[in-house]
Amino acid sequence: MAQRRTAWTRLTTPFANIPASTATTLALAMWIAVIGGWALLSYGRVVPNMFLPTPGTVLQTAYRMSLDGSLFYHTFTSAKVVILGFVVSSLIAVPLGLWMGTYRAVQAPLEPLVNFIRYLPVTSFVPLFILWIGIGIEQRIAVIFFGTFFQQLVMISDCARSVSRDLVNASYTLGTKRSEAVWHVIFPAALPAILDTLRVTMGWAWTYLVVAELVAASSGLGYISLKAMRGFQVDVIFMAIAAIGLLGLITDTAFRILRARVAPWAP
């Protein structure tokens, strides 16, 4: 029976598991294809190096900027902005979203307003934030906050609302008071979904970083990209993009580890 399933059948069966080694090989192959394609286009001069730097040049730039400490400095500034904006946003969105999903009386006034603000482009608020808050780090944090908070609120409210009614009912028959249900039952039941929401919105926070830094900043990965554009330093732009991507990958992995730690019971 088992022998009749060839490796090929396995790979083409919907939802079938594949060996971990195959998965790793496929992931590596993808990266090799992307970087290989890039190398081909740049070293082969298909695209002029003024627009597409070679992988080697980007690595050299990264090395050079690591040595003088500027890469670390700009990365640190950017990470600080993203993490502060994200943490402030999450600290308010998680409890408020839980209440919103639990109590219709909180949802009714908030939801129409939140859904209105949620669709406003963050970029359109940047001039306003500069007028109100200035051009310091607070302005950039405000952009990240504004970009993530309202999305988080709606998603976390949905996490809370999709907790099984019978789970809450069961807790009542075991002595839980109505006022306790939100923290004793709904919060832990929704926790894995909330952590998934935070992981996804963390990605969005990184994407708003460049918006925040393009306009008013004197340091950060977005800022050096903008400066590099003026000086035609495409290699620096590429390096900054790669750095943001790597940081995103690291925070994403951190969230996966955190979820496995905090909610080991959830699949």
């Binding site: 099984s164 019978d166 789970l167 009912n169 069961a170 807790s171 009542y172 028959t173 075991l174 002595g175 839980t176 039952v185 832990p188 039941a189 926790l191 909610a263 080991p264 019971w265 959830a266 699949p267």
Partner: protein, 297 residues
């Protein structure tokens, strides 16, 4: 001793349908004594009086129409009825999870106005807290009550053993089979020492073999713990294997149509379903239910 139960049934006679009170005496010489007699003499635990439930406004669907019933202390009372007849709704009302449109429900003389740990409930869906281990799930009620840790541990260990899940104490619900989950749910409800245990088709989602095992386990636990149980099911075999008394409900709007006293001696084995007394009772209930289903179409 049966007088108390007969009395209860006469209260349900209100309404257009005929109430049938049926008592089949076991012919088996080993079972001449009324098995529920002494046990049920201790009084009434739950009294449901003239309960009506209508969803929405005055023109809404009438789910329950003037239902009255009493459950004696330590009695195992089963409600059977066609699906959608409101039998689960009645249980939710008894738990205090929903409000009746009119009528009253009393447990140990106290009016039910909200849910509480004196009315433990086992649901058809799996309602274990997935973030707690088996042990912590059972401990949840005693913890809410504020019992000291030592006493909680004693209670949890007792019920873990009672449902045979001591080796799984540190597992999470996701690691258990459906039958095991419902065993924990029973243990969790019993750990609060409720006045009445409400069971809403707790074995409905299980395969038939597991269901048989669970019925046997429930009977064993119930016989040892001496609990009052109100059990809802649509499975006639299950009703007769478990119950002291079976109440048959009509199709929507739900009313009590008949009360059938199950005079089959205890302890009952699963083979009881092959005995003539059992089959006679089953035929009777099937007839009552078929009338309901025919009236529907």
């Amino acid at each position: 001793m049966g007088a108390l139960i007969m009395n209860a049934s006469s209260q349900t006679a209100a309404g257009s349908r005929v109430v049938v009170t049926e008592t089949v005496k076991a012919n088996n010489p080993a079972a001449t004594a009324d098995p529920a007699g002494d046990r049920l003499s201790a009084g009434t635990t739950m009294a449901i009086e003239d309960v009506t439930l209508r969803y929405g406004d005055a023109n809404g669907v009438l789910a329950l129409d003037d239902v009255s019933l009493q459950v004696a202390k330590n009695e195992f009372c089963v409600i059977v009825g066609p699906s959608g007849c409101g039998k689960s709704s009645l249980l939710y009302l008894a738990a205090g999870l929903n409000d009746a449109t009119s009528g009253s429900i009393k447990v140990d003389g106290r009016e039910v106005i909200e849910p509480g740990p004196d009315r433990g409930m086992v649901f058809q869906s799996y309602t274990l807290f997935p973030w707690l281990t088996v042990r912590a799930n059972i401990e949840y009620g005693p913890k809410r009550k504020g019992l000291p840790a030592e006493q909680r541990k004693r209670i949890v260990d007792q019920y873990l053993n009672e449902v045979g899940l001591a080796p799984f104490a540190d597992h999470y619900p996701a690691q258990l089979s459906g039958g095991m989950k419902q065993r924990v749910a029973i243990a969790r409800a019993l750990a609060n020492d409720p006045a009445v245990l409400l069971m809403d088709e707790p074995f409905g989602a299980l395969d038939s073999q597991t269901r048989g095992t669970m019925q046997k386990l429930l009977l064993r636990v119930w016989e040892r713990q001496q609990k009052t149980v109100l059990f809802v099911t649509h499975d006639i075999d299950e009703a007769l294997v478990l119950g002291d008394r079976v109440l048959v409900m009509t199709a929507r709007p739900g009313k009590i149509k008949a009360e059938i006293k199950v005079d089959i001696p205890r302890p009952r084995s699963m083979d009881v379903i092959l005995e003539p007394d059992f089959i006679a009772l089953k035929r009777r209930i099937l007839g009552l239910l078929h009338d309901e289903i025919d009236e529907d179409h």
